[in-house]
Symmetry: C2
Subunit: 368 residues, 2 copies
């Protein structure tokens, strides 16, 4: 596996060299993990002019397992109280003869950047910008395999919940139970804070669970995901509680389902990000739900739950094969509730069978 | 309650004015919450030359309850896709006639700071530094009341766990169960990721729970805390599994207990931060555990679990009354395990009865 990380570092180094920086400093944890296989707390990766070094602070009680990184990489454990590893890295780069260092200006704070500048005034700090995030967009098959397992785990946890009694239980408890089930099935943890939304809360993306209890006649929207070896997926479903959904519920569900299907079907290598968004959005808008829908229809997933690309009206760019994204339109009617349907899929060539659906729980409207 | 937040803003404004800034922008979420009573996702607080404004981005699915802030405060909801509220705030300050704006350089990224600078080149961006964090150190009695409830909840969750069967269960499951119990007892959530460490893992601060199962003869260290209305406490205890602790376990436990008691007894208004640390640390060092102990003995708690002050060897400053801190020395022997004992206490005047212990679970060595 080590070659994978070394290859990624070579690609980044080539990009930096082309941009005029002989050295780069990666500080954003998910980026460090992508390039090293691990992310010991607070560690930063220096792609030096001659060699790569992972600088790790001594963290009390840190689990050595978290620090397990690519063994081809030199690791430097800084002494306890040794200050900011990013500052140490600047000094390291200077001594290695670098005259410029590209840093992640979208991650470093102003105060930290200033401390880095002051330790080596003649070293020019350039902007690495989101170079690593760009590399991360297209996944290799090992990464996709992790996402596939993460999705299986989320499907299992959700499936078990559906078999239990729901009426009378609070959003908070259902969310905790789902998170426990994710871990039972082998997740390292939830991919993000599990959302359970009942009745008037339903259909709201990112709803924070409350003490409201599930009632007969409610819509129930659930959004969860597993973190498996660092890779995070997302699934969202909406159910109806009771024997017979009301007409407005069926109508709204069918609408969101149609929008979500349109979004999924638009996924193809070469498709514009904003066209995926438009495919889903125009269906909601045609039914008069243009304003209440979310600012985006989906987003990339991977080592973070919300990665590039954004599938949004103003997003620029085109999908590639092997990019995993969510498609998650929803409608929320204030005071009444609503519907969200959310899948994680991998963009694939038509010849390879088209988009690969990772989250396979049924999208029929289930009355529970 | 609104007056509380308005008073805090007045105090901050006075501080800024004294430092030559007619306006300040607060972006760090816990600081926004401290000054407004709420922290809608992504919101920033502008203390303008004339009035205060909370600028909130439109966040899809955001729960209006999270945005419930001091009603004396003007709130401005930015349109969806309206960009960074911090950039909007700069424009706002400029139009209000400010020539300088103090910002939180320890929170803003370089990229964000640059975007803010470019929207109003003639507005000077100064550094607010940790002015709000400094205000937050001394708590009022309402804040302490929240911490007291948070501590009661953590005590209850821990007490229930001790009554259950532990042998054979994994660290991960015990941690999840503790978190569920915290919520059952009224916590908004865990104050931080619950740590459960068994056998060779025990005594390691911040240990991430694994699939290791509790065994007879193990030390079991648990560290948890509740978040109640935003306020976070911390409790850590170490137990022995089985009927009779081994001699080395009793000896190590007594040592850490003595160090923790010395730290607690040193808490008093006017005491130097580092003297609290030294009181605990010298007892461990005298027994030959100078190197393996943590870089700090305790820290402040409040809206964040790790606040100022740091009770550490190089910390500068003196305790005030009404400062809640943890005292949490520990020893971890690689391969064998160890002991951590962690309380949250409020510094009080001697005349008021001395330090107020919030986490009251027994610190006798229990054999479970």
């Amino acid at each position: 596996m080590s070659e994978v990380y070394a290859d990624r570092r070579v690609r980044l180094r080539d990009r930096c060299a082309a941009a005029g920086s002989p050295a780069a400093l990666v500080s954003r944890p998910a980026n460090v993990r992508y390039l090293t296989g691990g992310s010991p707390a607070g560690a930063v990766l220096l792609l030096g002019p001659e060699e790569d070094v992972l600088l790790c602070p001594t963290v009390p009680g840190a689990d050595p397992a978290d620090g397990r990184v690519d063994e081809l990489l030199r690791q430097l454990l800084l002494p306890a109280g040794g200050g900011d590893p990013a500052v140490a890295a600047v000094d390291f780069a200077r001594k290695a003869g670098a005259d410029a260092l590209a840093v992640e200006e979208h991650h470093l704070t102003v105060a930290r950047h200033r401390a880095m500048g002051s330790v080596a005034p003649r070293l020019r700090l350039a902007d690495l910008s989101s170079a690593v995030e760009q590399l991360r967009i297209v996944k290799d098959e090992d990464e996709i395999a992790c996402l596939r397992i993460a999705a299986e785990i989320a499907d299992q946890a959700l499936g078990e919940l559906l078999e239990s009694i729901l009426v009378g239980r609070t959003e908070r408890h259902l969310a905790l139970e789902l998170e426990r089930r994710l871990v039972d099935h082998g997740a390292d943890g939830p991919a993000f804070a599990t959302s359970v939304a009942t009745g008037p809360h339903s259909g709201r993306g990112g709803h924070k669970p409350t003490d409201r209890r599930v009632e007969e006649g409610d819509f129930l929207s659930v959004c969860l995901g597993a973190n498996y070896r660092g890779y995070r997926c997302e699934i969202g479903r909406t159910f109806v509680i009771g024997t017979t959904p009301a007409d407005w519920q069926i109508e709204l569900y069918d609408l969101v389902f149609a929008a979500q299907r349109a979004g999924r079907e638009a996924l193809a290598p070469g498709a514009e990000y904003r066209d995926i968004d438009r495919a889903a959005r125009q269906i909601l808008a045609a039914a008069g739900h243009g304003d209440v829908s979310a600012p985006l229809t989906g987003h990339g997933v991977g080592l973070e739950i919300d990665e590039d690309p954004q599938l949004a009206p103003a997003a620029m760019g085109k999908l590639d094969a092997c990019v995993p994204v969510t498609v998650e339109p929803g409608v929320h009617l204030p005071g009444r509730g609503g519907v969200r349907i959310d899948d994680t899929l991998v963009v694939r060539q038509e010849a390879d069978g088209g988009p690969e659906l990772l989250t396979i729980t049924t999208k029929e409207l289930l009355a529970l």
